[in-house]
Each structure stands twice: as structure tokens, then as C-alpha cells.
């Protein structure tokens, strides 16, 4: 079967089984390995993608659910020359250690800031509560999202 969607702004046609998981379509068929898999059961958030701007677990989505949707993966955040303020803040504030949770965290954070441009630390934690991290203890991730929020509000660097 054939599925038409937009991935990171690009019109994309996906062939193959409708019961393929979206995380596999992204990683294996499209070579977008920035989306990770940590559990396959929706418990860790490493597979987070944005579907029409909303964070979802790609390990629990079937390929057919991509039909007519606009998907953003981590590869679609930021430009080759300039990172998104959230990404920049993650770099500057030490929010990246092993980095495996990072794509999911960034996407959840980008979505949060689009809905709540001035979140307090508790709101940030709630927004990221579905993205597990085993390395950082979350503190610097929260710091980074706070800094990104400030930077985006001011139009400055985080």
C-alpha cells in the first residue's frame, strides 16, 4: 500500500505494509535514525515525533496513521547552519549526556514552548514526564528549556 505524507516538510510516499510501526518506517525505510527506540511499549519516549505538531510515540503508531499527516522528526528541527533555540540551549546548558533521549526531549520541549512560551520548571517537568532520561537526572534539561523559552521570547541566544 502507499501512504502520502509530509516528513520534515518534504512530500513523502511510503510503500509497504500498513502494519509497520512508524518508528521502523522512519529509521529503516527513510534512514531517519534520529528517532530512537528504547522500549517499544510507549514507556520511555525515545521514539517521540511530532504529528501535525503534537508529540506522539512512533513505536505505537502504525504506518497507515501517517496518511495526510505532517510529521516532524528531530532531523526536521533547526537548520544545518543554525540549531533551533531549544537545541542550542540543550548544548549550552549541558542537557546532553549520552544523547539517546535527546531527540525525544527536544521535540517534547519544542511542542511545550509552542503552547506555553513561559513555562515554570514544574510545567516543564510535566511536559517532559513521558521522556525518560537515565543520564542527566533531568535538572539540566529543565534548565535548558527555561533558557530556550527566555531566548525565544527575547529573540536572543539561549
Amino acid at each position: 500500500m502507499s501512504i502520502i505524507c509530509k516528513i520534515n516538510g518534504n512530500d513523502t510516499e511510503i510503500q509497504g505494509a500498513s502494519d509497520r510501526r512508524v518508528v521502523d518506517v522512519l529509521r529503516e525505510d527513510l534512514g531517519l535514525t534520529g528517532t530512537k527506540e528504547g522500549c517499544g511499549a510507549g514507556e520511555c519516549g525515545a521514539c517521540t515525533i511530532l504529528v501535525d505538531g503534537e508529540p506522539r510515540l512512533s513505536c505505537l503508531m502504525m504506518a497507515v496513521q501517517l496518511q495526510d499527516k505532517a510529521v516532524t522528526t528531530i532531523e526536521g528541527i533547526g537548520e544545518s547552519e543554525a540549531l533551533h533555540p531549544v537545541q542550542e540551549a540543550f548544548v549550552e546548558h549541558g542537557a546532553v549526556q549520552c544523547g539517546f533521549c535527546t531527540p525525544g526531549m527536544v521535540l517534547s520541549a519544542v511542542n511545550l514552548l509552542s503552547l506555553h512560551p513561559e513555562p515554570d520548571r514544574n510545567r516543564i517537568r510535566r511536559a517532559l514526564s513521558g521522556n525518560l532520561c537515565r543520564c542527566t537526572g533531568y535538572v539540566k534539561i529543565v534548565d535548558a528549556v527555561e533558557a530556550a523559552a527566555r531566548a525565544m521570547a527575547e529573540g536572543s541566544k539561549p
Binding site: A17, S18, D19, G40, A41, G42, E43, G45, T48, E54, P55, R56, L57, L60, M61, M62, A63, V64, Q65, Q67, S108, R126, A127, S129, G130, N131, L132
Partner: protein, 283 residues
């Protein structure tokens, strides 16, 4: 390879259900797909409800509210009608899973999965919710307490979907309280939960009480005896403590890898005491 179908309308849905009578129906997939992956449910054709707009939204008609079953949980949190009129349900939704799961999972799915630990269930029982079940040719409704028979078992028949949930708005001044106990603060399976809707007179006498507990029985437990104990009396710590003891005898929790029955029983009662914080405030 199994088929996964994406109906765009109710008519699409009925036709697909007709063509694939053994297909499993899902909306978010956060329960079904996890169970299929672990082998608890064998591989099946699937029908996904997520594109059917007719199954999404919240409608208010006077005192009645209709929550369409295919509404993702996070969308319900953005509905002013839910947060304003049904804070007991809104609170439960904020405790459910994670933001990602709430973007995908629906209230209809949570009800049909009928886990004893389903987070929306105790509030829906406390609200005396009715479930609307639709098939191609008919619509019927049942109290939720009759719809859910036991863990994972409902009265949903082949060819039917859960289309909506109907509730009456509680009195605007009613206390609506919900608490969930889990092993962590997100992505947690409820060990015990309590939903409470209480109406107090100006003098502080309890005029009505609707109480429901989750995760302490095969289905939600409503313990009318405890509610009756509170009605007609001022809401005091003593009264709540006595009611708690009644609740602890009424619940029938199990011991599993997450908690013992004793713990669940103790907590189910204790959660009642938290209500006095609502009335008396937190120092």
C-alpha cells in the same frame, strides 16, 4: 501481515467492521498495541478510529455533557467545559500516563480497556456516567457501572463501538476531588485512586456524596455505605476516619507485583482523609 484500516467517517467504519468482523478497533493504541506486542492479544487486523471527527469533541446541553469517546485525553484537558465542570475527571486525566500517551489515548479507549486501574474510571463512576454504545443500526446507553463487568470485560458487543460518555454536571459548588497513588509521579499504574464529589450545605453539612475507588477491586468500587455515613453530618476528620474504616472493609484489592492488598486497602481508606484538606484548607 495484517491490515490496518483508517476509516474517515462512521459509514467507513461500519463498512470496514462488516468486512473484517474479527478486526480489533483502536483509537490511540496505547493499550491495544502494547498488548499485541507482548503477545497477550494475538495478531489481528486493526481498525483505527483516530480520523473520525464525529467521535471527537465535548458538547454541553444545559446540565448535560456529552464527551465523544474518540477525543484524545490531552484534548479533553483543553476543553473549558471539562476543566470547569468536571475537575474530578480533568485531574484524573492529568495523572494518566504521560503527555505523549495522553495525546494518543482516548477516554473511550480507557473505558473499553476496563482495567481495574484505569484512571478515568473512578471519576466517571462518581459522576454516574452513562456510556453510549453505537452500532450501524442502533444506539443504546448504560450506566458505566453496568457496562464494565470485570477486568478487561465489558458489555460491548460485536459490531459496536463506545461512541460517547454522558454525564450530568455536578453542582457548581460541589467539592470535586481526585487522588491517584502510584509508584512514581508519571507513567504510573494506579495502586489506588479515589474520586469524590461532595455537596456541602452553607453550614458545612454533607448533603450529597458520590465516592468511587479504583484499583481496589475487579472494577471501580463505589461504597455507598461510606457515602451514607458522611451524609447528614458535618465533614470532620472523625467522620472521615470512620468512613475510611468502612471503605477498608468494602474494598477487595489484590496483591500483585505493584502492591499488596493490605497496602491498597489501607490507602483506599486513608485517601478519604485528604478531603478535609479541601474543606479546611492546607495550613
Amino acid at each position: 501481515m495484517k491490515q490496518v484500516l483508517l476509516p474517515r467517517s462512521m459509514n467507513d467504519l461500519w463498512a470496514m467492521m462488516h468486512d473484517l468482523p474479527d478486526a480489533a478497533v483502536y483509537a490511540g493504541g496505547t493499550d491495544l498495541l502494547v498488548k499485541m506486542r507482548s503477545g497477550l492479544i494475538p495478531p489481528k487486523d486493526l481498525i483505527c478510529l483516530e480520523r473520525i471527527q464525529a467521535l471527537k469533541g465535548v458538547m454541553v446541553h444545559g446540565d448535560r455533557m456529552v464527551i465523544l469517546a474518540g477525543t484524545p485525553l490531552s484534548h479533553l484537558l483543553r476543553e473549558p467545559a471539562i476543566t470547569r465542570h468536571l475537575p474530578v475527571l480533568a485531574k484524573a486525566i492529568t495523572c494518566l500516563g504521560s503527555p505523549l500517551i495522553r495525546n494518543m489515548g482516548t477516554i473511550g479507549g480507557n473505558v473499553c480497556t476496563a482495567s481495574p486501574a484505569g484512571d478515568t474510571l473512578a471519576p466517571l463512576y462518581a459522576l454516574d456516567a452513562r456510556v453510549e454504545l453505537a452500532s450501524e443500526t442502533s444506539v443504546r446507553s448504560l450506566p458505566i457501572s453496568r457496562f464494565i463487568l470485570g477486568p478487561g470485560q465489558t458489555l460491548l458487543e460485536t459490531g459496536e463501538i463506545l461512541s460517547a460518555i454522558h454525564v450530568e454536571k455536578p453542582h457548581p459548588e460541589a467539592i470535586q476531588h481526585f487522588e491517584k497513588v502510584g509508584r512514581r509521579n508519571a507513567l504510573a499504574c494506579s495502586l489506588a485512586s479515589m474520586a469524590a464529589i461532595l455537596r456541602l450545605s452553607d453550614g458545612g453539612i454533607v448533603m450529597a456524596a458520590s465516592l468511587a475507588w479504583g484499583s481496589v477491586g475487579p472494577t471501580v468500587i463505589t461504597c455507598l455505605e461510606a457515602a451514607d455515613w458522611l451524609i447528614g453530618q458535618p465533614l470532620s476528620m472523625d467522620r472521615l476516619t470512620q468512613a475510611a474504616a468502612i471503605v477498608q472493609k468494602a474494598v477487595c484489592p489484590i496483591t500483585d507485583i505493584r502492591a499488596t492488598a493490605d497496602y491498597r486497602r489501607a490507602v483506599a481508606g486513608n485517601l478519604l482523609l485528604r478531603i478535609c484538606e479541601q474543606k479546611m484548607g492546607n495550613p
